[in-house]
Symmetry: C3
């Protein structure tokens, strides 16, 4: 399965990435240890942010590496359209900042993805100053 | 397996639901994107909050949906009484606010639930101004 | 598999344990309900903190028990050296404060640990005023 995570800086389907906790007195950023972000990314069928929406990727990003090299990812992919409408997948792992190929775990799912487990690869598919798109390639078994 | 999550506003076994993080300058609530709650719910054998305690459901609820339609759930069911005493189950997923049938994943467990995976259904079993009770129906396989 | 988590108060490979959220107006500690810590522990091959580094244990510790008896653990073991370099394991569960034998779940993994699930036992292997070392014994199946 291939989907696209849209990190949109602005617009009607803008992604929200909100810093909500961190070390007191520091700037909260992805490279500042201790920072926690709540995120809600649109997930689409194709690389264009205008392509059909299949769901949202919602959860936490946590700057848990002292050297800032990676962030912890804990996201639910909440499908709310098309063939997987009502189902979810749970993603968990580490995203390394300076690598294009980033693999996280699919720890479980619900609905059509009950008993799912596997892995998901995140790769930068598009990037400019206003937005970025990550290709999300998911491999699961459900037995 | 069927248990009951007791969300009790007061009393000796009161549930604790504490807002601990969120977007600076906003009210932190279940429908305000970015709010994080730490929770500790009593889990009982029957629908009555006075029925036998089997454990506690402890962890995080995260308002990670921009539209406020759902919250992320990351809970450990910590059994501390009766047949599963000392074991745990790990729940993860999305709870949709306006649906009575809410399915989350059982991602794993410990003790008697080693290698467990499956799903858990949350349904409102009782609700009034002072408290609510959720029926928790758990389906797992452990091989 | 046996590894060692080094909780080091000082030195070049010092562990970082940062309180980042909690109930407003309270001291944020492991026994104060609601406190969230982001952590980054070195993981070594042997009990000595000077032994070969195999990776880092990065993620969250959450004081989610009202009675302070346990904390929620959500950690990624990020291997960055030797035979599992580039792979990760996802740990999740409850660590009981007053027990020497603490079992958490291995919910998943990446790289060489794709499809992994199992359990991990944490035991205090060394403890003095300046540092502590936890033995981490991991049992997984990957099919």
């Amino acid at each position: 399965m291939v989907f696209y995570l849209q990190d949109l800086a602005a617009g009607p389907n803008a992604t929200v990435v909100a810093p909500v906790a961190g070390i007191n007195g520091r700037v909260w950023s992805f490279t500042t240890f201790g920072s926690i972000f709540v995120v809600d990314f649109p997930v689409t069928l194709s690389i264009s942010p205008a392509s059909e929406l299949v769901g949202q990727a919602q959860g936490l990003l946590i700057a848990s590496a002292l050297d800032g090299a990676s962030v912890n990812v804990a996201l639910s992919i909440v499908f709310n359209n098309l063939q997987y409408n009502g189902s979810t997948l749970e993603l968990q792992g580490i995203s390394r900042r300076h690598e294009n190929y980033r693999e996280v775990s699919v720890v479980s799912g619900t609905g059509k993805f009950r008993f799912a487990r596997g892995y998901a690869v995140l790769e930068t598919a598009f990037f400019d100053i206003s937005r970025s798109t990550l290709r999300l390639t998911i491999t699961i078994q459900t037995n």
